[in-house]
Every structure is written in structure tokens, then in C-alpha cells.
Symmetry: C2
Subunit: 153 residues, 2 copies
DNA sequence: TGCTCGTTCGCACGACTTGCGAACACTCAC
DNA sequence: GTGAGTGTTCGCAAGTCGTGCGAACGAGCA
């Protein structure tokens, strides 16, 4: 995602208005590596702008996504995450606390996949499931946060 | 997933009853490579057993999943898919028609991933997004089915 | 056959997201 | 600076997908 200043220009160039709500979200998202949910952004935004609506957060996120400034990522269960990093990269997900981190993967071109039967893949998505460092250090059974589903294979 | 006959024994061995509804779902799922949704299974099951409840379909799928006979898979958007193939494998998803196919990927162990920062991955999930053979043959814009979201990176 | 306990099923509810439209406010022309 | 005009905000209703609940039911066993 571009900087708040650049987005301000980009929005106006498209005939879109630059409102205080949008500016706030530009700031909250720029450089954000948390992969926040809409609710999480709404909570943070509300602290700074008490009247802001969750509806507006969803709306602005959709606008940014349609402009290619934002990536929407969904992992198995739970709400959609929003990712201002639109470069090609992948993710590690902690199935205990739900934390998501960016990961860069090298060697994807060397993967051998079959059978494709005429299927034409355009995007290879890799998600590593497991435990983050903090969660790996604690009991395997303890959990205070609803876990994210993990494939059983 | 094991055969309907084996599942019948496995259910009774656990003190679970083998009802006509369950037997029907055992049959509909065994060897099924469609990655069907609960609704899709409900529709198929209803043709054969008109009174069956969607609630029972969900319930039985959850039972099978908790026994490790079934894998639940979610792709970006849309409802959960159920996969009787619990071997380690991966998926290709047509973002136009939503079709899902199994794919086996070789070379995963050679992938280089960084930075992991203490994260301990246990499962590597690979999803190839693109167009199935049938959809690749038609107009890129034509669509009669709501597409599955595709990551923008 | 009859008892018992797990199952089924309809309905209400929950989580997450989107549709809708009236009130509002950013822009720009003047 | 002011006003007109168009895009935006926001609350509420509705939509989608899935789960909690409990009364009626029926599979399995003595
Ligand atoms: Mn990311
Ligand atoms: Mn599969
Ligand atoms: Zn964690
Ligand atoms: Zn297709």
C-alpha cells in the first residue's frame, strides 16, 4: 500500500473524496504488518475517532482492495484479514493465537505438481500452519483465544 | 475416508449409531473427489432421502471430521468444502467456477522460507489459483457462477 | 418386546459481511 | 468565501454460513 499522502492524491485523481475516516484508515494500515481484521481496525480507529462506523471501515477496505492497494487474505476460519503488503509473499499462521506473519518463500518455481489436466494456475499460495514462538513456549493445550482451523492432512 | 462398511463398524465401535442418514452420507462421500459443500451434499442426499435435514448433514460431517475421516478445507471465500481424502495433498482452485481438484506437489521440502523467527510450522498448505481447463477455454470475462476470491499478490 | 441413550431436525441464534437510503460533507466552480 | 453537486458516512436490515438447543424419535441391546 502506498503512503497516506500518495493515497490522498490517488483517491482525488479518481474523483473519490478524502475524508477524515479514510485518512485515519490510510494511517492505520500503512506499514501495518499485523494482518488486521475489519473489527480490529474498527477498534483501533474508534479510539482516535469515536463516532466512526464499522460499515465505513468495511467500505474503505473494499475501496482500497479494489484499487489494488490492499490484499484480502482468508485463513480457514475466522474473519478476513487485510494486508497492505501487496508484493508477492506468503504467510505463517499460528493456529493457537491466530497471529499471522509475512514469509518469503524461495524455490516455488522448482515445485513439481501433478496432475494438472489442463488447469492453468496463475497464483501459488503457500500457508504454513503451526505455532508462533510465544505459543510454542507455552502448554500445547492452553488456549485463551479461539484457534484457527488447521487442515488435518 | 474409509469405506461405508468400515465406517459402520468404526461408528458402532465408538458407541455411535449407524442411521440411514449417516449411511447415505458415507456413500455420498466415499471416493468423492468433488470437495463438496454441506449444501451440495444436502442437495444430493435430499434426492435420495427427501426428509433429511441440513442440520444432520452438518452434524455428520463434523462427526466424520472429528474422527479424522474427513478434512475440512476453506478457500478464501465461500462455504467450507469437505474432503474425504485425508492423505497429504494439495489443491487447485478455479477462481471462475469454483471447481477444486486434488494435486500432489513434490519438492516442498526444498522450499526456503524466511524469516521464521521461532515460528514452528507443522503443516504446509499449497493452493494453486487459476482457471480449470473448461473455464480457460471460454471468454475470460464470461461468468455465470460467483467467482472465488483470489489473492491479489 | 421394551428400554435407553444417542440422533435427528426445526428453529433460533451467532459471526461476519453487504444492501440500502437518508443525512451529511468534501470539492470545485464561481 | 459560498453554494451546488456528487460522493460518503452510518445505522439498520438483510444475507450467508454455521452452531446451540431441546423435544421427538429410533437404533441397538437385553
Ligand atoms: Mn502478508
Ligand atoms: Mn482434496
Ligand atoms: Zn501464537
Ligand atoms: Zn472453472
Amino acid at each position: 500500500m502506498r503512503t497516506p499522502t500518495e493515497l490522498t492524491e490517488a483517491f482525488r485523481a479518481r474523483g473519490l473524496k478524502v475524508t477524515p475516516q479514510r485518512q485515519l484508515l490510510f494511517r492505520l494500515l500503512h506499514g501495518n504488518t499485523q494482518h488486521p481484521t475489519a473489527e480490529a481496525l474498527f477498534a483501533t480507529a474508534s479510539a482516535e475517532m469515536p463516532g466512526i462506523s464499522l460499515r465505513t471501515v468495511y467500505q474503505t477496505l473494499a475501496d482500497l482492495a479494489s484499487m489494488g492497494e490492499l490484499q484480502q487474505v482468508a485463513f480457514g476460519s475466522g474473519p478476513t484479514r487485510f494486508d497492505p503488503n501487496v508484493d508477492e509473499h506468503h504467510h505463517v499462521v499460528c493456529d493457537r493465537c491466530g497471529a499471522v506473519r509475512d514469509v518469503w518463500v524461495d524455490g516455488i518455481a522448482d515445485l513439481r505438481m501433478a496432475p494438472l489436466d489442463g488447469f492453468e494456475p496463475s497464483v501459488t499460495e503457500i500457508v504454513l500452519h503451526g505455532r508462533c514462538a510465544a505459543c510454542a513456549a507455552t502448554e500445547p493445550t492452553a488456549s485463551t483465544v479461539p484457534p484457527i482451523n488447521q487442515p488435518t492432512s
